[in-house]
């Protein structure tokens, strides 16, 4: 699966734990994921994720730690 340099369009997606990933723009999203709003080439989506996903802890862990 590695010659991943393709011209297909991808979307930036995010789950309830606020973990980011990418998904094929022309396919239905797997359960529990929503489109973040950005789409483009694979690399464009990954670059975007690198900028916006700054706290990589799952949301549940973050909230638990914040609660003490």
């Amino acid at each position: 699966m590695d010659e991943r340099e393709d011209d297909r369009e991808y979307s930036v997606v995010v789950n309830d734990e606020e973990q980011f990933s990418i998904w094929f723009a022309d396919r239905p999203l797997p359960d529990g994921w929503r489109a973040e709003g950005t789409s483009g080439t694979r690399q464009e989506c990954l670059d975007h994720i690198e900028r916006v996903w700054t706290d990589m802890r799952p949301r549940s862990v973050r909230e638990r730690l914040a609660a003490g």
Partner: protein, 1072 residues
């Protein structure tokens, strides 16, 4: 009388003759048929009918006259005689003995007398093709029909158009219609009988062979073969095409000939085939399925073309035409259908190609993976294997019958088991329906898997074995300290550590760390060798609520500095022996002494410590990254605990067990797989010092002496270990290996079982050969068939769900190679870096847990016929060197940063011994000193990531996208490479390299090389590793050098200076 004409050997027979030389008497060269006879037909009637057929059809007297070099086709050999067969015997007796191609007969017949009797016919394919044998069978049956004119009277005619038998049949191979040649082959009166409309009996026209001479033209018409230009065009078209495709086979292809073939009718319950189905549409569906099986766009299929001049001609007229299709997955279904229809028509109308169009005359004629043919339904009860099937692994035949077409699949039963063959047939029919139902869809988007496939993949891809009620490892170990405080937890040489001591020291260090300001969510660097103190330190870090960043104590400082910076670590725990000058980023160093003392700091904090939870981070472990920096994987306590407890169950770990620890201390394998599975049940862990790993014999002795019962050993070392001599009884009962592409099975007679498992740092353990235990796949249970292919990696680990996907993340059919994608309780959070995590941890479209992620491993695997997984290499540019994952981009980036290097590409081809070697292809400024480059890299990268050889090129090959075309990099010339460390002035080949030793020291080193490697005439520029040396022989070489030269030397010195010339410089103080 008699048929005396001969002709130069046509391509079909030439190919068969050559094939016969490579595999004498092989079943693929023959055809056979079984003919049920009417009741009451006796031996005499059958013999007479056969004789009449022989008279009517010269092809029954085919032989290859004229010897090996100048063989010609001749029709003056003996015809078939009727042999008796005992009741119950079958026709296989007829083909058991090889045919004598030169003398004949090439057609054989045998009769099982009874009521009714059965006739068996067999022929070498040099004489008859399948259709001819069916025609012959029908003709014999017709001639013996009670009521038919007797053999001594006017002979009965066959049920075929009785036209021009001699002319047409004596010229097998004639093509483009015999009509084109008729003017040159004037017919005699005897060969122009009346044609009865619709065939049937034409008594007047049927000559009695024994009385009516059949004359044949003195020079039968030559077959219409390709012109020189046509043949050349075909050669060019086929150049580089692979006859063998990577089909989902159930066994490895042997070096020898094919296995027995089996032909089955493909069930068509949904009516994919109709009266209007074109054979070319079936071929299109077949190509689409082959494309999805192999991932290849370039597909070579042998297409069976019937060149008979008229439908009733008896002889060999079937040609297998190699046809190369370039499959375009983006084309629509209707485009594919019309393209294949055009192509098939062109092939049928094309010339007969020379026999050597694919292989040189001296080579074995290629066997094809895939073949395709069309035939008419034969008479009921007559069975025969089509030619395409005989010369291929998988042949698809469209059977045309009055009621509509059917489909037959013939498969080599050694390579494709029945279940797989049935599945393949089903896929072709499903694909056919998809092509016809969705004409405007891209063929690459069509789905051809059925519910049976999905159910099988679901069953094979998961296990119902669940390990629940997890507790963190620190909690479990603390409990052991309460339950069995005096039991031994760790052993290193003479030193032992009890559970109570482990607990007490860990607690002390944890409080110390807390006093130093380490709090929940922080990370602490651990840079220690394999030792009891490392266990103490790991537990202490966890008890302080922190994560342990695992550091390789043998890595260069610059490399470790980058890791510390990446993880934001400001405190490192190490041992006195490894204390070193840390880069400025790492502010503080704690030393943990063997006594349990801590060297710096003072006050023990008394505050209660936080309790780590399952989803807290336990470790940051490194894995090779493509950006030039190692990636750090975030491992949670849940993964570690699950790994330990699942092992306890799967490996039946009891308190009486003795574990062994041989992996490098900082690796994920050590901290999440090896060490805790024993401690959590209160069993001791035996720690191997580095010296114990220096040779397979030492490791064996250590395992025996320390009483280790279960151990996990990296693949290269395990392969050496299992070939050592072992006593009949040893404490060791289970040796697992993995973390590499394991190629060889361990011998069955070892006193312990050897199995191969698989995991990845990002998801930890994925498969095991031991579950379910009754079906375990180990050196003790492996069958002969298992041993025909490399050891599989087993079945899913408890809690794991895995999928094998194509490049668009669709499941591939059972048996087909694809990328392994995994999820499960040991899945990590990902990497410390966002984009890298997002790229590899993707939405899970198959799960029931909303928001779940699948990790894409980059490993290529496939399901074996029994559901066990086989590892088939990497999908990307990651390689494995000495069992360690290496991302070549990381090495390339380090090379590019070196002065004088302009371009770099790194690969890891297998050397002639099958060991992968890291090779760097460089474009560099003149005078690049590769020895100096190697040493420079050694300051930045771990040893296994330093290339073992450098190949200088003028330019790197690029593909159309201006990316490095790795497949176009030249194959390493291993012999030349072994001496390639010579000064680069020799690169132009004008200056000979002086390979002779110049000093006594060099001479001594050359001698060590020769002794250890078992070679002679070596010189000072000969590379130890490229001549076959490995880490074990390197250990021996270093001991020998130290013994003879008296200068201290480490294995690392030899690794970085692999030639006598370079090592001599180091020993005399000139380099380093």
């Amino acid at each position: 009388m008699g048929v005396t004409a001969t002709r130069a050997l046509p391509a079909i027979q030439e190919r068969l003759r050559r094939s016969e030389r490579w595999a004498p008497g092989h079943g693929s060269h023959t055809v056979a048929a079984t003919v049920p006879l009417p009741p009451g037909v006796g031996r005499r009637a059958v013999a007479a009918a056969l004789d009449a057929c022989t008279g009517a059809h010269p092809a029954l007297r085919t032989r290859l006259a004229g010897g090996d070099q100048d063989a010609v086709l001749s029709w003056d050999g003996p015809g078939p005689s009727l042999e008796p067969l005992a009741a119950g015997e079958d026709g296989s007796a007829l083909t058991a003995k090889p045919f004598d191609l030169e003398r004949g007969p090439l057609v054989r017949a045998a009769l099982v007398e009874g009521s009714p009797s059965t006739l068996h016919l067999a022929a070498h394919r040099c004489a008859l093709d399948t259709t001819a044998l069916r025609l012959l069978a029908a003709e014999v049956a017709a001639r013996v029909e009670p009521g038919a004119p007797g053999p001594s009277g006017p002979g009965p005619a066959p049920t075929r158009p009785a036209t021009a038998p001699a002319e047409a049949e004596a010229a097998p191979g004639a093509s483009r219609g015999a009509a084109a040649r008729e003017s040159r082959a004037p017919r005699t009166a005897a060969r122009t009988p009346a044609v009865a409309p619709g065939g049937g009996f034409v008594p007047a026209a049927a000559p009695d062979a024994r009385n009516s001479p059949i004359t044949v033209p003195a020079r039968p018409p030559a077959p219409l073969t390709a012109t020189a230009a046509e043949a050349q065009a075909a050669r060019e078209e086929l150049a580089g095409a692979a006859a063998l495709l990577d089909l989902p086979l159930d066994a490895a292809r042997g070096a020898g000939a094919a296995g027995p073939a089996r032909t089955v009718a493909v069930p068509d319950p949904d009516g994919a085939l109709t009266g209007r189905t074109e054979p070319s549409a079936v071929l299109a569906a077949y190509l689409a399925v082959l494309h999805r099986y192999t991932g290849r766009a370039d597909l070579l299929v042998a297409v069976e073309v019937d060149r008979r001049p008229h439908p009733g001609a008896i002889g060999q007229y079937t040609e297998l035409v190699p046809v190369r299709f370039r499959f375009d997955a983006a084309a629509t279904a209707s485009d594919l259908l019309s393209a294949v229809a055009d192509r098939l028509a062109a092939v049928k109308g094309g010339p007969v190609l020379p026999h050597d169009v694919l292989a040189e005359p001296t080579e074995q004629p290629p066997r094809f993976s895939a073949a395709f043919g069309v035939r008419r339904l034969g008479p009921a009860g007559v069975t025969a294997v089509p030619a395409a099937a005989a010369e291929s692994e998988l042949a698809l035949t469209v059977v045309e019958a009055a009621g509509g077409p059917g489909l037959e699949l013939t498969h080599d039963t050694e390579l494709v088991v029945e279940e797989s063959a049935d599945r393949i047939g089903r896929h072709v029919l499903t694909m056919l329906r998809q092509l016809l139902d969705h004409p405007d869809t891209a063929v690459g988007d069509l789905d051809f898997l059925g519910p049976e496939d999905h159910e099988l993949l679901r069953r094979w891809g998961r296990t119902d074995d669940v390990v629940d009620r997890l507790r963190t490892v620190p909690e479990l170990v603390a409990r052991r300290a309460r339950v069995t405080p005096d039991a031994v937890a760790a052993v290193l040489g003479e030193r032992t550590l009890t559970f109570a001591e482990l607990d007490r020291r860990a607690d002390r260090l944890a409080r110390h760390l807390a006093a130093e300001g380490i709090a929940r969510g922080d990370a602490v660097g651990l840079c220690m060798p394999r030792c009891p103190e490392l266990l103490v330190a790991m537990l202490a870090v966890h008890r302080a609520g922190a994560a342990a960043l695992m550091l390789d104590p043998k890595a260069p400082e610059a490399y470790l500095g980058r890791l510390l910076a990446q993880a934001g670590v400001s405190l490192v725990v190490t041992t006195e022996r490894l204390r070193r000058d840390w880069p400025a980023e790492a502010a503080q160093v704690l030393c943990l002494l063997e006594s349990g003392e801590i060297t710096s700091g003072s006050a023990d904090a008394a505050d209660p410590l936080p309790v780590p939870e399952l989803d807290d981070i336990a470790y940051l472990v490194q894995t090779s990254g493509s950006t030039g920096l190692p990636k750090l994987v975030v491992v949670t306590h849940r993964g570690v605990a699950h790994s330990a407890l699942a092992q306890v169950r799967a490996h039946q770990v009891r308190r009486e067990e003795h574990g062994g620890w041989t992996f490098p201390p900082h690796t994920n394998v050590s901290v999440t797989v090896v060490v805790w599975a024993f401690l959590v049940v209160g069993a001791p862990l035996h720690i191997a010092a580095d010296d114990e790993l220096s040779s397979p014999e030492r490791l064996r002795d250590w395992l025996i002496d320390s009483g280790v019962t279960q151990v996990f050993v990296v693949a290269p070392l395990a392969e050496a270990l299992v070939t050592a001599d072992w006593p009949e009884r040893v404490p060791l009962r289970s040796l697992l290996t993995g973390s590499d592409r394991v190629r060889r099975w361990a011998p069955a007679h070892l006193p312990f079982e050897v199995g191969n498992w698989y995991g990845a740092n990002e998801v930890n353990i994925v498969t095991t050969p031991l579950l379910p235990w009754e079906e375990r796949i180990t050196s003790h249970t492996a069958t002969e068939r298992d041993r025909g292919t490399p050891p599989p990696i087993g079945r899913p680990w408890p809690g794991v769900r895995l999928h094998i996907l194509d490049h668009r993340m669709r499941p591939v059919p059972p048996g087909v190679v694809g990328e392994l994608a995994v999820t499960g309780p040991e899945q990590t959070r990902g990497y410390l870096t966002a984009a890298q995590t997002a790229e590899r941890f993707v939405p899970d479209p198959f799960g029931t847990e909303p928001g779940g992620r699948l990790y894409l491993t980059g490993d290529l695997v496939r399901f074996r016929h029994d559901g066990a997984l086989e590892h088939r290499g990497r999908a990307d540019h990651q390689v494995k060197i000495a069992g360690m994952r290496v991302e070549v981009a990381e090495v390339e980036n380090a090379l590019l940063a070196a002065p004088g290097v302009r371009a770099a590409a790194v690969t890891a081809p297998d050397d002639p011994s099958g060991t992968p070697r890291l090779i760097a292809y460089l474009v560099a400024d003149d005078g690049l000193d590769t020895a100096a480059l190697r040493r420079a890299l050694a300051g930045q990268l771990p040893d296994h990531m330093v290339p073992q050889a450098f190949i200088l090129l003028d330019a790197l090959p690029l593909n159309s996208g201006d990316k490095i075309d790795r497949r176009a990099l030249p194959e390493p010339d291993w012999t030349a490479l072994a001496s390639a460390s010579a000064p680069s002035s020799s690169a132009d080949g004008e200056e000979a390299v002086d390979n002779a030793p110049r000093t006594e020291l060099e001479a001594a080193l050359v001698k060590v090389w020769e002794e250890i490697l078992g070679l002679s005439d070596l010189g000072v520029h000969d590379n130890f590793f490229l001549l076959g040396g490995d880490s074990l022989s390197a250990n021996r070489a270093v001991r020998l050098v130290v013994e003879r030269v008296g200068t201290p030397l480490k294995v690392r010195d030899l690794m970085l200076n692999p030639t006598p010339a370079e090592l001599s410089e180091v020993l005399s103080g000139g380099a380093v």
